[in-house]
């Protein structure tokens, strides 16, 4: 019987989605969910929710839960990672300190000062988890959802022999958006997309052999459509292709949109929560609200009401398990080691592209060359990922400082001296949560 570990299952809303999707796999009617989290209170909520979701789905899965992952990993067929390390304690300084230096981030969890410090806080725990998996269930494919996605996946690829794939819905979600903008049926649209997580590119966009880009460019001339994604449409106008992350988030991946107040005013006017640390201030309350809703749903389910949504989502995790465990070939988008898949991106970096999954495993598909201008935009981030992994594996603080110096938004706003001061201030503030070699000397 299949055993699926969920590491960081105390992210109960997220864990429930993963469990719901797996339970929806036709023909996979029994197995064990092994829930792991260091926070016993949140783990208990996840445990109860998992048990109830299984009952509601009418499947014969069982649940085990523990705060000690090493006891749970032996025999696992799949490991799903969704850890969040000290996020609540640091989310405010992730936004507020950079803001003092003029760096106004949007999401701040994959790149920029916030993303870099999230990596420095998260990567040691992630690496320890990977080492345990390598020792206790080395054949299990590892599915990662935690951010910063690319740098974490790269860490595992460099430091272990595990088969790791990072998943994000941004490509598929964007494809649905594009179909809507162009008013074409999603099912009839064909696309090829590749790059890095949150900065992949729809290099081909077709329907019945017709290049859809002229339609998309026309759609962008409609203010009602343009307003929904001004950053992405302006990137398309400048570089020729549509990218995969929402306007607010992608605006912090490139140097053009957030370096001056007037630019921020213009580009995030439709998303007021994408500036000034608004997301950071909301996150703790949002988390409480999500938990409350989940508890409310749980109580209603226990009373016999239907409260959980049991429809399978778009997320690729369950499709990987279906493809692999049942040998039903699936194509998913994943973040994997490059190994020459995208010719003009670094061969030892982490890229995002289509992968075939079947009974033999996860097979990333050769892509070829990205247009040079797109490769250039992705390349700088891959070098930042490289420096971050170097920081962790070589205990090299200066590599992390240099990663921040190369960050496109930070570099567009700050001098080298200011960036070093910003790094030092964040390191000092978050000292208790960082590896010893990051701490100020």
């Amino acid at each position: 019987m299949l055993k699926v570990a969920l590491i960081g299952a105390g992210s109960a809303v997220f864990a429930q989605r993963a469990i719901t999707d797996i339970l929806a796999i036709d023909g996979l009617d029994a197995g064990t969910f092994a829930l792991v989290d260091l926070d016993s209170e949140r783990l208990e909520l996840a445990h109860e929710v998992a048990e109830q979701t299984i009952r509601s789905a009418g499947k014969a899965w069982t649940v085990q839960a523990t705060t000690g992952r090493r006891s749970m990993l032996p025999g696992c067929d799949y490991v799903i990672n969704m850890i969040e390390v000290d996020g609540l304690a640091n989310v405010h300084s992730d936004y507020a300190i950079p803001l003092k230096y003029g760096v106004d981030q949007c999401i701040a969890d994959t790149i920029g000062p916030g993303g870099i410090f999230k990596y420095l806080r998260t990567a040691p725990s992630w690496l320890a988890i990977c080492r345990d998996i390598e020792e206790l269930c080395p054949r299990a494919p590892v599915i990662n959802y935690s951010n910063p996605m690319s740098a974490l996946v790269l860490t595992a690829l460099r430091a272990t022999s595990l088969q790791v794939v990072g998943l994000c819905q941004s490509i598929v979600q964007t494809a649905y958006e594009l179909a809507d903008y162009m008013n074409v049926p999603y099912e009839q649209m064909r696309y090829r997309c590749a790059g890095i997580n949150h900065l992949s590119w729809f290099v081909t966009l077709e329907m019945d052999g017709e290049d859809l880009y002229p339609r998309l460019r026309s759609a962008a001339d409609n203010p009602a459509i343009y307003e929904q994604n001004p950053v992405r449409f302006d990137l398309m106008r400048a570089f020729g292709y549509f990218t995969t992350e929402s306007s607010g988030h992608v605006s912090e991946y490139v140097p053009y949109f957030r370096k001056r107040r007037d630019l921020i005013d213009y580009y995030v006017r439709m998303q007021p929560d994408c500036r000034g640390g608004e997301r950071a201030s909301r996150w703790p309350a949002n988390r409480v609200e999500h938990d409350e809703r989940l508890r409310d749903y749980l109580e209603r389910e226990k009373r016999g009401e239907r409260a959980f949504y049991l429809e399978r989502g778009l997320d690729a995790g369950s499709y990987i398990i279906e493809g692999h465990a049942l040998n039903r070939p699936q194509v998913i988008y994943g973040n994997v080691g490059n190994s020459g898949l995208i010719d003009n991106l670094p061969r030892d970096g982490c890229v995002e592209l289509a992968c075939l999954v079947d009974g033999n495993g996860i097979h990333p598909l050769q892509f070829g060359r990205l247009p040079a201008q797109l490769a250039a935009l992705d390349n700088v981030h891959m070098m930042i990922h490289d420096l971050l992994v170097q920081t962790l594996l070589n205990e090299e603080r200066e590599a992390a400082v240099q990663a921040l110096m190369l960050d496109p938004l930070t570099a567009a706003v700050c001098s080298l001296t200011e960036i070093r001061q910003l790094f030092d201030e964040m390191a000092s503030t978050q000292q208790a949560y960082l590896p010893h070699f990051i701490n100020p000397t």
Binding site: Q173, Y176, E177, Q271, P272, R306, Y309, E311, L314
Partner: protein, 108 residues
Amino acid sequence: MADIVPYLERIRARFEQPDTRAAFQGFAKTIQFIFTDLHRNFALSIGKDGNAALTEETLPQSDIQVTTSSDTLAGILDRKVNPELAFVTRKLKASGKMEDLLKLQKLL
């Protein structure tokens, strides 16, 4: 095609519950529901006191617009359709200010 009126009435009836009224206290907004399959539009007007009224009409201007099919909204309320999935796949579109849309999440 679902008979959508009883479903919309279910949404309105939530405002009779004290917790919903408390959650929407001071949220005096209008929600326009546009059903693409029915070619019928409905308006839910929420008062400052947390009460709500449902009418079949097309408002000249609304705070939130929800465009969907009757089957999708019925499926969401019956817990057969995942609202997040419906949103991502554009089976349900919602427009309005971000803070208003976050409130809408509580209703659906």
